[in-house]
């Protein structure tokens, strides 16, 4: 086995993943800003970027499979490839959720609102923070940062639950708010999923660096 080639291929994988992650981060940021800045054009840009993410996913997946088939990596090398395969899938899903949110933002961004916008922007900003930190933890192989993402996912979960309750109350009082409220409920659900995906990436970073599974830790109690 030519290890110089393997090292180059792993570096290529890392660079490709960094580029894909950078583009996904931009999509998430544009999605958040679409509503924050009341700019539907930003949402349209998100829809355009999705194709590029799909191409990255296919290319990086092929690179991973080529390395597995041709280099048969072990130990850390194996974990890097296995984690990359899962992370690109999470990135692609984050891109899809951004597209879902952007489509709804484009519909409602310029309509008059009877709902408090602060909630929508807050959950978007918190999810974006988790996305950025999960990517940073991957690039710097920083497991402490990755663990902080897993912990802080609770912030987004709580914001989601709070916002959901508030929007539901408003819709119950004002039937005229139901259409917009339905959009918002789906938007915050997508933000909550983006935060979950950032958490999944953080868990992959811990596996990649430390070699043990950080998922479903309640199962560690098994014999």
């Amino acid at each position: 086995m030519n290890q110089i080639h393997l090292d180059e291929e792993l570096q290529g994988l890392r660079t490709g993943l960094a580029i894909m992650a950078g583009e996904v981060e931009r999509m998430v940021e544009l999605t958040r800003d679409c509503y924050l800045k009341r700019n539907a054009a930003l949402g349209t840009t998100v829809l355009d970027l999705d194709r590029s993410i799909d191409i990255h996913e296919i290319e990086l997946e092929k690179k991973c499979l080529d390395i597995l088939a041709l280099r048969a990596p072990f130990a850390t090398d194996l974990r890097i490839v296995a984690s990359t395969l899962k992370i690109i899938s999470e990135l692609e899903r984050i891109g899809d959720h951004s597209v879902n949110i952007s489509k709804r933002f484009i519909n409602i961004v310029n309509q008059p609102s009877t709902l408090d916008d602060k909630w929508i922007n807050e959950i978007g900003s918190e999810a974006l923070k988790l996305v950025k930190r999960s990517f940073d933890s991957f690039l710097s192989k920083n497991v402490d940062l990755a663990r902080s993402v897993i912990t802080d996912d609770d912030i987004v979960d709580k914001l989601y639950a709070k916002t959901y309750d508030e929007v539901l109350k408003i819709m119950q009082k004002d039937p005229g708010a139901v259409e917009r409220g339905s959009h918002i409920i789906l938007i915050i659900k997508n933000w909550e999923r983006i935060a979950d995906q950032a958490t999944n990436i953080a868990e992959e970073v811990i596996f990649m660096v430390e070699g043990h599974n950080a998922k479903h830790t309640y199962l560690d109690q098994r014999d």
Binding site: M1, Q3, L6, F74, A75, T76, L78, G211
Partner: protein, 267 residues
Amino acid sequence: MVNERITDSTTKNATNDNEVISIQNFNFFYGPTQALFNIDLSVNQHTVMALIGPSGCGKSTLLRSINRMNDLIDGAYVQGKVMVNGIDIYDKSCDVIELRRNIGMVFQKSNPFPKSIFENVCYGLRIAGITDKEFIEQSVEQSLRDAGLWDEVKDRLRENAMGLSGGQQQRLCIARALCVKPQILLMDEPCSALDPIATTKIEELIFNLKKSYTIIIVTHNMQQAARVSDFTSFFWLGKLIEVGKTEKIFTNPSIKITEDYISGRFG
């Protein structure tokens, strides 16, 4: 550089009723040169233990110490114990002939005798003085079946074994080892001279044989160690650096030297 050997908890548990081989504080010397240093290793019944490490690390020396194949080397001597079924094989009372009957060995290069296929397989029985023709025929057939060779040679048992292919010759040697009903099989790079198809057959054979035998295999092929073994031991400069479940060693070894070796970044 290496202060402690890592042994995972699953391997420590080998010190139980299933333990067949227990190597304890074992040192091996080629005259003034020490080849193995304070080796402690347990092997459980019906498992496959792979010994890996760079050339000269002592893995073959250890393998050959388990059935005292090193006895004939001038100036060689050992310290410590190799316990097989609870008996110290280096004790003066040990019957070396019986030991080697109980611990079969397969070498890197197949070494059939210039005799018929049948006579190769029953050679161990004949030198043990067994003359029961029916018993010998049954044993030969069963050994060839166990070695996955019966269907290929059943119609030419009286032909010279030297006419078999390399892969067939290696399986013939395995059949010859099995015919005397050993408990343990030692394999020293058994596939290094074989093509991928013959290698696959031997690896499948190892998988099947472990139901009835305990196997220790030396291999330089990391993929092979990963494929066939339950436990893997990594040796370096005559020391056992790390031992553990094979999936652990190949996905998340505890020691950097082990990782460097299995991922090809050694040296």
